[in-house]
Subunit: 586 residues, 2 copies
C-alpha cells in the first residue's frame, strides 16, 4: 500500500509541473522570484479567531498543501443553518497548485467541510486510518465516495512534490490516529501540530516524541499549534485516569447505566466497553453517529468488543437493569440527539425510570451549557441519578494545557510561531507562552483568517490578504448569500410580518379589492382583528386621498403603503413589524 501511495505522490509533480496559471498570486510570486526569492506563504481559511472550521494552507511557488477542512456549528441565532464552512474561493482560483489535502485527525471541526469542499476542488485527501474511515462514511452519506481519491498515511510515509514534501508525527488527542503534519520547504519545515495533548499513558499508541524532537533538531521554520487550552494551567490529565473513574462509577450502580460522550472519542468508548465487561453488562448503542463510530471502530480494530456483548435496543427487555449499559450521543444536550430524546420521553424504545444512572462523560462546549443543563434537569425529574461536571474524573480534555504547549514549543523550537485553533484571547495567551519560551515579539504572529504570512529563511512579514469567510450550509446545500437571508429571518423573528395586498385599476388607480392585511408573528390574530380592520380602513383612506392628486404608479402606491402602515402600527401598538405590501394591477 505504501508503494502505491508513494508512487501516487511521486507521479504528481509531473502532471502538475505546469505553471501557466496567470492568476494574481502566481503572477506575484513569479515576478518576485526574479528579484528576491519567493516566500513560503502560510494562511488560514478558518480556525483562528474561532473554534471550528479549521483549514490552513502552506504555499510555495506553484505548490499548495492544505491542512484540514472542518466545519463549525452555528449559534442558536442562525435559524435554519446546519453548519458553517470556510470560504475556499482562494483555493478554487488556485486549484492547479494544490497538491493534497492532509487531515490531522477525524473530528468534525477538521473533516466536516470535506463533502462541500470536494464539490469545488478536485484534490486527493490523505489521513490516518481512522480519519479516512470516518471520511469514507461521511462521503458515502453524501453519495460522493466514487468521485474522491482517499489515501491512508502512517508515520513512515512521505509525500514529495517539486518543492514541498509532507510527512507526519503521531500525537495524542481524544481520538486515535491524530497526527502533526510537517511540510518541508526550501527554507525549513513548517509544522502543524493538529489538536494534541501530551498523554504519557494513552489508551492507544503513544505520541512519537522522538520524531518531534528530531524534526525540531533539524530546524523548524514555523510552527502552527493548537491554542484551545492555552488559558488553562498545568498539564491536561491523561485519558487513562478517566478509565479508572468510569469503572469506579459503574461499580456504584445497580440499575441501568446510560453513558453519554462524544461519539468520536474512540478511546473513551473502549474504556466504557472494558468497564462494562468487568461489570458484566451488555452494551446497547443508541444514536446515529455513535452507531457509525462503533461500526467503523470495530471494522478498523480501534474498538474491541467481546462476542455477543452488543445488544440491539429491541432486545433490551431480555436483560435485567443491572445487566444493561446504554452508550449514547447527546452529551452536549443537542436537542435531537439520543439522550435528549430519551430525557424528554420522545425516544421510541428507551425511557428513563428511577434507578437509572446517567453519566455525562464530557464537558459542555461553550454555548452548549444551557442545553446540557436542560437535559440534566429533565433526566433528574424523570428520576435518574445523574453524574456530570467535575464530579469524579469522568472526563478529560483532548487539548493540551499550558505545560503541554510549552513542551511542544520546546520540542519544535521554531523560528516563527503562529498560534492557531482558538478564539482570539486563546491565541494571545498562547503567544504569551511562546514569549516565555524565548521567542521574540517579532517572531510570533497572531493572525486572522485570510491573512497571509510571507516567511523567508530568516524573516517573516504579513503579506496581502486573501478571500476568507463563512459559507452557510442548510439542508446539505451551500448558501453563499445565506447571511443576508439570515438577517431577513432575524428581522422577521423580531417583530413578525404584516402582508398588505390590494388590487388596483392601473388606469385610474382605483382600489378594486383590498387592502387586505394578514400577519404572522406580529399580533395574536384572534385579538387583533379590529386593529387590522382599522388599519385597512386607514390605508384605504390615505390611498384614495392620494389618488385624487397624484397619478397612479405601482411604485408610489407601494411606497405609500409602506409608510402609512409603519406609522400606523408604530402609533397603535408601538411596534414596527416587517411590512410586505403588494399591489396587483388589472
Amino acid at each position: 500500500m505504501n508503494e502505491a501511495k508513494l508512487k501516487e505522490a511521486k507521479t504528481k509533480p509531473a502532471n502538475t509541473a505546469n505553471t501557466t496559471g496567470a492568476n494574481a498570486a502566481n503572477g506575484k510570486s513569479g515576478r518576485r522570484s526574479k528579484s528576491s526569492p519567493p516566500p513560503v506563504r502560510i494562511f488560514s481559511l478558518g480556525g483562528i479567531g474561532e473554534i471550528g472550521k479549521n483549514m490552513y494552507g502552506i504555499e510555495y511557488k506553484n505548490e499548495i498543501v492544505i491542512v484540514d477542512a472542518g466545519l463549525k456549528f452555528p449559534d442558536s441565532r442562525l435559524s435554519g443553518i446546519d453548519y458553517i464552512i470556510p470560504d475556499i474561493s482562494y483555493l478554487t482560483q488556485n486549484q492547479h497548485k494544490i497538491k493534497g489535502l492532509f487531515l490531522t485527525h477525524g473530528h468534525e471541526d477538521h473533516i466536516g467541510a470535506l463533502p462541500f469542499v470536494l464539490r469545488q476542488l478536485s484534490v486527493p485527501v490523505y489521513g490516518g486510518a481512522l480519519t479516512i474511515g470516518l471520511v469514507r462514511a461521511k462521503l458515502e452519506e453524501y453519495r460522493m465516495l466514487g468521485e474522491v481519491k482517499l489515501h491512508v498515511f502512517d508515520e513512515n510515509d512521505r509525500f514529495d512534490y517539486q518543492q514541498l514534501s509532507v510527512h507526519f508525527f503521531r500525537t495524542t488527542h481524544s481520538i486515535p490516529d491524530a497526527y502533526g503534519i510537517v511540510i518541508d520547504t526550501p527554507y525549513g519545515a513548517v509544522v502543524h501540530t493538529g489538536d494534541f495533548k501530551f498523554d504519557f499513558t494513552p489508551e492507544d499508541k503513544p505520541a512519537n516524541l522522538f520524531k518531534m524532537a528530531s524534526v525540531g533538531g533539524e530546524g523548524v521554520l514555523a510552527l502552527l499549534a493548537d491554542s484551545t487550552n492555552s488559558e488553562k494551567e498545568g498539564f491536561t490529565p491523561s485519558e487513562r485516569r478517566v478509565g479508572g473513574a468510569i469503572l469506579e462509577a459503574f461499580r456504584q450502580c445497580d440499575g441501568r447505566i446510560l453513558f453519554a460522550t462524544f461519539a468520536s472519542n474512540v478511546h473513551r468508548l473502549q474504556q466504557v466497553v472494558d468497564a462494562a465487561m468487568q461489570c458484566n453488562r451488555k452494551i446497547v448503542v443508541i444514536g446515529r453517529s455513535m452507531e457509525k463510530v462503533f461500526a467503523i471502530g470495530q471494522d478498523l480494530g480501534y474498538i474491541r468488543v467481546p462476542e455477543g456483548m452488543l445488544v440491539d435496543v429491541k432486545h433490551i427487555d431480555r436483560y435485567e437493569d443491572r445487566q444493561i449499559l446504554i452508550v449514547c450521543t447527546g452529551s452536549q444536550g443537542e436537542p435531537n440527539a439520543a439522550l435528549s430524546r430519551i430525557a424528554s420521553g420522545a425516544h421510541r424504545s428507551v425511557q428513563i425510570y428511577p434507578g437509572d444512572t446517567v453519566i455525562f462523560s464530557s464537558s459542555p462546549i461553550p454555548g452548549n451549557g444551557q442545553n446540557v443543563n436542560r437535559s440534566i434537569d429533565m433526566l433528574m425529574r424523570a428520576g435518574a441519578h445523574v453524574i456530570y461536571g467535575s464530579i469524579f474524573d469522568i472526563h478529560t480534555s483532548g487539548h493540551g494545557c499550558r505545560e503541554d504547549l510549552k513542551l511542544m514549543l520546546s520540542f519544535i523550537r521554531p523560528k516563527f510561531f503562529i498560534p492557531i485553533h482558538g478564539e482570539y484571547r486563546m491565541l494571545l495567551s498562547h503567544k504569551n507562552l511562546a514569549l516565555q519560551t524565548g521567542l521574540t515579539e517579532d517572531r510570533v504572529f497572531v493572525m486572522n483568517i485570510g491573512d497571509t504570512l510571507s516567511v523567508y529563511r530568516n524573516r517573516a512579514k504579513r503579506g496581502r490578504t486573501i478571500p476568507a469567510g463563512e459559507v452557510f450550509i442548510s439542508n446539505g446545500e451551500m448558501r453563499l448569500n445565506e447571511d443576508e437571508l439570515v438577517e431577513e429571518r432575524m428581522e422577521l423573528a423580531q417583530e413578525g410580518i404584516v402582508v398588505v395586498v390590494m388590487t388596483v385599476d392601473s388606469r385610474t388607480g382605483k382600489i378594486l379589492s383590498g387592502p387586505d392585511i394578514v400577519t404572522r408573528g406580529f399580533v395574536y390574530m384572534q385579538d387583533a382583528r379590529p386593529l387590522l380592520r382599522r388599519a385597512e380602513a386607514a390605508l384605504r383612506r390615505s390611498l384614495n386621498r392620494m389618488g385624487e392628486k397624484e397619478t397612479y404608479s405601482q411604485k408610489l402606491w407601494l411606497r405609500t403603503t409602506q409608510q402609512v402602515m409603519r406609522r400606523y402600527f408604530q402609533r397603535e401598538v408601538g411596534r414596527t413589524p416587517h411590512i410586505m405590501p403588494s399591489v396587483l394591477e388589472v
Copy 2:
C-alpha cells in the same frame, strides 16, 4: 415613619376582613376548616426549576403574603421578547386576600416584574431602603409611581395581620439591604432566606446572626432557601477579598481602566470608588443602569464619592489616561450595553486603544458565556489588556455555597424544607445537603411552580396545583399569547416566508392578475427570480386547470395554492417555507 408603616399595616386587617370571595381556594379552605384545621399553604409562581422570575406566596385562611416579583431574561431563541414574568392569575383571583408584597432585595430577578404585576394587583409593596429606591426609579420609568404604595422596612419592623405577621432579618448578598423574611403563622414561622451568603467581613452592615438564631430557636415550621450555589463546595469568599484584588489590579495599570460589573452590585461600586481614590483616578460612569444606580446609591448614602471625582464623559479628554477610570455596564456581554458598544467601536464618545485595561468583575451567567467571550475578543483585538475569569480575585458570588447553606439550615432548624431559587439539579443538591443536616426525606419538598404545599403543625403534604407559567413582555407590553406568536416567529425564522397574491373574478374564478410571489428569508431574491417565475406559472396552470372542473370558492383556491406551492418548493429546493396565500376577489 415606622409609626406610619405600622399604622398602615394595623389598619389593613379591618378593610380586608371580608371573606366573601367565593373562589375555589377560599371555598376549599372554608370547607376544610369545618373538619380539620386549615393548612398553611406555600407556593411558588416562579423561581424554582429556573433561575429568575422569583415569586412566592404564603397563604393561611383568608390571608396571602407575597415574597418578591422578579423577571427572567429569555434565551436567544425567543426573538423579540424582552422579559419573562410569572403568570399571577392565581393572585388576581385572590386579590382580596393579599396583605402585602415583600421584597427580599433589589435585583431584577426579584423586583423586575413589579411594573407588570402592579398593573393587575393593587397591593402595598415593602422593601429595604435601597430596594424601594430602585423600585421607585423603575416605576417612574413606567410612569406608575403615583398609583403604588411603597413602604421601607427595617429589621425592627413587624407587620401584623389577622393570622399572619411578617418581620425580617438582615442577610449579606451582592447588594445592600438584602433581607430574609419571616412569616409567623399559627403553626410556626415560615422563613424565606432571599438570596444570601454568609459574609463575615462584608462591605456594609453584617448579617443579623442573632436574629436568625432566635427565629430558629422559637421553632420554624418551614424554610425556603436559596439554592443557586448548592453544587459548589465550601464557603463563598467574602466581598472584602475582591476590594483588595481590585486595588491590586488598578495599581498595575498606567493607561485607562474600564471596569465592568453588575450595576446592582453597590458594594463593588464602592470598592471601585475607593480604589480609584487611592490611585488618583477620576471616575466616568457609562451605561443607563449604571448611571441610575450611582445616582440612587449616592442619594441614599450607599455609595460615597468624593467631591469632584465623577467626571462627565464629555470631559474625559481633559485628563490623562492614567487619571481615568470608566465604570460601565456590559459585564455579561449584553449586545446593547455600554462596554459592548465600546468594544465594537459603536460608542459615540469612548473608543478602545492600546494601553487600555478592561476588567470584567463578574462571572458569566449561564447562557451569556459566548457573548462575554465575544466582547473580550473584540476588546483584545482593539489592543486592550483584558482581565477576566478566575484570574485574580476580581469577583465573588453573592450566593452561598454548600457550607453557607448548611450554616443557614443549622440556624433555622426548620420542620419542613423547600429548596428554592435554582434549576432542578440545584434544588436536588440542596435537598441532599438538608438530608445531611438531619432532615428526613418526608420533610423535604422539591416543588415545581404552581405546586402548593399544605403544611400543618406536624405534617405537610402536596396540595392541589394552581395556575403558574410564563408571561412574555415585549416593548413593555404583556403578551399572554406571545408563546404562539413566538412559535410563528421561530417558524418564519426557520425557512422564511413565501407570499402568494392574486386577484380573481369571484364569478368565474378567472385569475385577473397574479399570482405574484414575494419571499423573505427564503431564497436570495437576485438568484431566485427564475425559480419564483416558474412557481407562479406552475400555480397559474394548476388553478386554471382546477377552474375548469370545480366552481370557484376563495377557500378552495387558498387551500390549493398552499398545497401546490408547498409541493413545488419541496421538490425544487428541498425546503418548506411558511406559505401565505391571499386571493383578492373583484
